[in-house]
Structure formats: structure tokens, C-alpha cells
């Protein structure tokens, strides 16, 4: 888990990559079994990963061609940005 920073209320923000879009319920179950679920709010970002991001990621990481993949990742991330912003806003409204 990579530490990203602290939000305005002092909650720590981490990110975790799992290579698999279907890992959400697994992580949730693991946290419950470890009795730490009350300390976490898991937010899945996979619905915002578009095709350009996927192709860029595959070229960059899968085929080890970052010179080809990175510009695509950049474009894909730009396209996904508004959706991710609204996800953060909705999350804050829901949990904070």
C-alpha cells in the first residue's frame, strides 16, 4: 500500500494496486477477517479505467514499452480525471 497523503480531516489516504478489477470484495472480506474493516474505506477506481488507459498500461508495463505506453496513459488519465474527481466528491459526501 502506498501512502499518498492526508485529507482535510486528517484521514490518511493510501492506494493499492491489485492487477485485477474483481478484487474489491476480496479486500473487504480480508479486512473484516483481520478485524480492521472499521479503519478503512475502500474505494474502487476500476470503473474509471478506460480503454486508452488499459492499452497504455499494457504497452508500458506488459510489453515494457513505456515510450509508447506513457503518452496513452497520459491521455487516458486526462479523460478519466473528471470521473475520478466526481468519485472523490461523492465519497466525501457519503462518508465524511
Amino acid at each position: 500500500m502506498q501512502y499518498i497523503g492526508v485529507d482535510e480531516l486528517g484521514n490518511e489516504i493510501y492506494l493499492i494496486g491489485t492487477k485485477n478489477s474483481n478484487f474489491g470484495s476480496t479486500i473487504h472480506d480480508l479486512a473484516e477477517l483481520l478485524e480492521v474493516s472499521s479503519k478503512y474505506i475502500f474505494i474502487g477506481t476500476m470503473p474509471y479505467v478506460n480503454l486508452i488507459l488499459r492499452i497504455g498500461g499494457f504497452l508500458s508495463r506488459g510489453l515494457s514499452k513505456p515510450s509508447l505506453g506513457r503518452p496513452l496513459v497520459y491521455k487516458g488519465a486526462k479523460a478519466a480525471y473528471p470521473g475520478l474527481v466526481s468519485l472523490v466528491e461523492r465519497t466525501k459526501l457519503q462518508f465524511i
Binding site: M1, Q2, Y3, E12, Y14, I16, G17, T18, K19, N20, N22, F23, G24, S25, T26, I27, D29, L30, A31, L33, L34, E35, V36, K39, Y40
Partner: protein, 158 residues
């Protein structure tokens, strides 16, 4: 301490591994018949922890099927570390046996409409055919209770 047997599929070889751990491997075919979980790909596809049974000490034994099962231990360790827990209440045992990929692909084909159930039956037959080898391999693995957990971060922490 709870135990989690993680593999590519959570309802085939991992179930046998859990039964071996529970000392219920003497009549494995009968045990597999008894448990409704064996070959239940709907349960597997939920990607949730599958409860098998309690061991003699009352610890819970689970299985989990996910293509990235090697990450499960790292994720559990990280969840504990960030939450500030010193001791992890879960022991993850990765199950990686010969022939598991074939079972996995057969179980994926089990999602197909109409002919899917045929592939599931084939996957069950494939696992039962290898049951002795699976049991032998599972018994060779270090006992989870004697394992040392290694707190390794999934990625380097900056």
C-alpha cells in the same frame, strides 16, 4: 488465528488443501461429496472468502480463488501494518500445484451458457483424478501453524 487457502480457484484444489489441513483427507471423495462447495463456481466467482469449517482449536478455515492469489498475503500484511496491528489474525497459505492452471481454465469455461456445466464436471473429474497427488503435495507443504509470517510490502513504501 484463522487460515486462508488461496489459489487460482477457490473451490477445487484449495478445498482439498483445506480438508487436508482439517485432517479430513482419509476419504477425500466422500468429504468432497459432503461439501457443497466443491466445484461451486458461482461461489468462486464472487471472489469472496469461502468458509470451509472450523479446525479442532475453533479457528476458521477459508479458501479463496483469485488469479492474483500471490498478492493476498501481501495485502493482508499491509492492511494490518497500516492499521497498526502487531499480530496478524490470519495465516494465508498459497496453493500452487501442478495442473491447477488446467482446472482454472476449465472452471472459466464453466461460465459458458448451456455447455458450461460439462466443463465444471470435467474440472471436478480432473481434480479427483489427481487427488492423491494433490493430497501428497499439500502434506509436503510446511504446516501453516509452524510457518513464520514475513511482513513484506506489496510495493516499496516511499
Amino acid at each position: 488465528m484463522n487460515y486462508l487457502f488461496a489459489g487460482k480457484s477457490g473451490v477445487f484444489e484449495t478445498i482439498i488443501a483445506a480438508l487436508v489441513f482439517l485432517d479430513r483427507d482419509k476419504e477425500i471423495e466422500l468429504e468432497l461429496e459432503k461439501t457443497s462447495l466443491f466445484g461451486d463456481i458461482e461461489e468462486d466467482n464472487k471472489r469472496e472468502l469461502i468458509f470451509v469449517d472450523y479446525d479442532r482449536q475453533g479457528n476458521k478455515v477459508y479458501t479463496l480463488g483469485t488469479p492474483n492469489y500471490m498478492l493476498v498475503n501481501d495485502i493482508s500484511t499491509e492492511l494490518c501494518r497500516v492499521a497498526g496491528l502487531k499480530h496478524m489474525k490470519l495465516q494465508v497459505i498459497e496453493i500452487n500445484l501442478k495442473g491447477m492452471d488446467i482446472t482454472y481454465y476449465l472452471s472459466r469455461l464453466g461460465k459458458l451458457p448451456l455447455i458450461g456445466s460439462w466443463f465444471i464436471s470435467l474440472a471436478k473429474i480432473w481434480v479427483i483424478y489427481r487427488k492423491d497427488q494433490i493430497i501428497k503435495e499439500c502434506k509436503k507443504m510446511p504446516h501453516p501453524k509452524k510457518r513464520k509470517s514475513t511482513p513484506i510490502a506489496a510495493k516499496p513504501i516511499k
